[in-house]
Symmetry: C2
Subunit: 309 residues, 2 copies
């Protein structure tokens, strides 16, 4: 039996080396050189080619190497009758939290406004709230949201969080479910999206959500482009209600040339780089999960296929 | 006897209200309405007009409302024979640390590079070091440098600090004095200047200092424009050695129209807004110092006129 590794041939990370280091006795086969496909017992998947997992007759476990598994379901041949695990990588969570902090602090210190002033040659100090006068809202309170909240806490912001199911976190006003989405948004001058993409959260950020944010609010999307109705986002920016959008993810990636988000004066575009899985921190987690699976225990990060994450 | 308040008439902060709240028995007189100048025992000074402190025959203490006192010495009539106290305001230190973090994280996550890519319509992920692979250097390890280090620490950066006199700080490689400046600079991919401006530090950042920073390094100046030889900074940027300069302060402020820093593609200009004294947190500190002074104790923040801070 073997472990199949389904990552793009151009991926520069040393997945095989890291796997050999922690699982020296396992046979690792890297797609597309799988040999006898019936040997593959466990599939480690990045963004596999559609159909890549077909014909793996003795496959027992699929372990995604990313935190978000939504893209796997776009392949109609993706096997839905096997346990699927998403990546819980402390390195990825730390990386995402760094990006979130960079963008929240830039918004808090009005660096987008000062960038526009620089472009216009304007020297003018703008009103600056203290951190304890500034409300920051985090959508998604899983590993990524909690890592972000931990780094935000020492600054003294007024923190709130929103999640599908009710959570309790120190120093954070927690909101849950659709009923509490608008009260949460209304107090979030800076809103950071870290939600998983599921049928429930697809197109969540629409005209109604943007209208609920405070005037001049900043929307930071580090999760998935599929969360956002881009036409509604542009309308909220053009109406002057939304102050700035910081977007790392888009409905179509790479963001197509000619998409108005590229050149909008109140939009910051980054090319899906807010967080990477780090093979060095991720592979030891994968090895733990394989050991747990073989011992008959539940792996960490098992996806609830009903909820979609 | 009275306390004289020397702040600009346009300053929007409620200095008098905050003073009355914590020192209800003191008589506060706000410049220029000082009445009999011989009544003024203590002067609280922002950026006083040149000569404003002349003729205060019974003045015993000058308490600056900013952290940096260098600008006071530009007035040749400024009294140098009286105890001078600089502001140690927890609100100002917190504000400066927020700004420093915003700029360090932007540099770490390569947001300046991504801004240029957005301007060019380029979608391309760039190599991203982990925080524990990134060296950040802080120049100045007083209240501002220590507050900045505290907020940086949880991110896991490789931290170093440089100061005039030797310091010891948890988790920070400490360098001191001119002899250790270059070894410190050579390991600082992101360098944050928080030094006081003194005869010793004026024009510290010259061609030699910029050459000592690693290639592609980022220089963040939140302290004083007088620290930087601007022609040398521009030369280091134009030579491609320095990757980015983030400048909140300048040799001449407001930064004159036509100064090439305004439009340089690798320079971020903010209009001296990295930190403000917050009257609400600062005035209680001033009140403590007045009480200590009257009790014959040394106020906190007493300036060493020899060292200049």
């Amino acid at each position: 039996m073997a472990i199949g590794l389904f990552v793009h041939p151009d991926d520069p990370r040393d997945w095989v080396g890291e796997l050999h280091a922690v699982l020296p006795k396992e046979e690792i086969r890297r797609w597309p050189d799988l040999g006898d496909r019936a040997d593959i017992e466990i599939a480690l998947v990045g963004k596999p080619e559609p159909g890549a997992l077909q014909g793996l007759s003795r496959l027992r476990l699929i372990h995604c190497l990313w935190a978000g598994v939504d893209q796997l379901f776009q392949d109609p041949t993706f096997p839905r009758n096997l346990p699927l695990v998403r990546m819980i990588d402390p390195g990825l969570a730390a990386s995402m939290a760094e990006s979130a902090l960079a963008h929240v602090l830039a918004a808090h210190r009005r660096l987008h406004d000062y960038r526009r002033q620089q472009d216009a040659g304007t020297w003018k100090a703008l009103p600056q709230p203290r951190a304890d006068e500034r409300s920051v809202g985090i959508l998604g309170l899983g590993e990524l949201g909690r890592a972000t909240a931990s780094l935000l806490r020492p600054f003294g912001f007024r923190l709130a969080g929103w999640s599908r199911t009710a959570k309790q976190l120190d120093g954070i006003a927690c909101f849950a479910g659709r009923d509490q989405l608008h009260p949460f948004l209304q107090r979030s001058e800076i809103a950071v999206n870290l939600l998983p993409l599921t049928p429930e959260t697809r197109n969540l950020f629409d005209a109604g959500v943007f209208a609920a944010l405070p005037a001049g609010g900043v929307f930071i999307n580090l999760a998935r482009g599929g969360h956002v109705v881009e036409a509604d986002l542009l309308a909220a920016l053009d109406a002057g209600h939304l102050g700035q959008a910081v977007l790392d993810v888009f409905q179509t990636e790479p963001l197509p040339q000619g998409n108005p988000l590229w050149r909008h004066p109140r939009v910051t575009v980054t090319p899906h780089v807010a967080a990477f899985t780090d093979a060095r921190t991720a592979i030891p987690e994968v090895a733990h999960n394989i050991a747990r699976f073989r011992a008959g225990e539940s792996p960490r990060g098992l996806v609830d296929l009903e909820a979609g994450y």
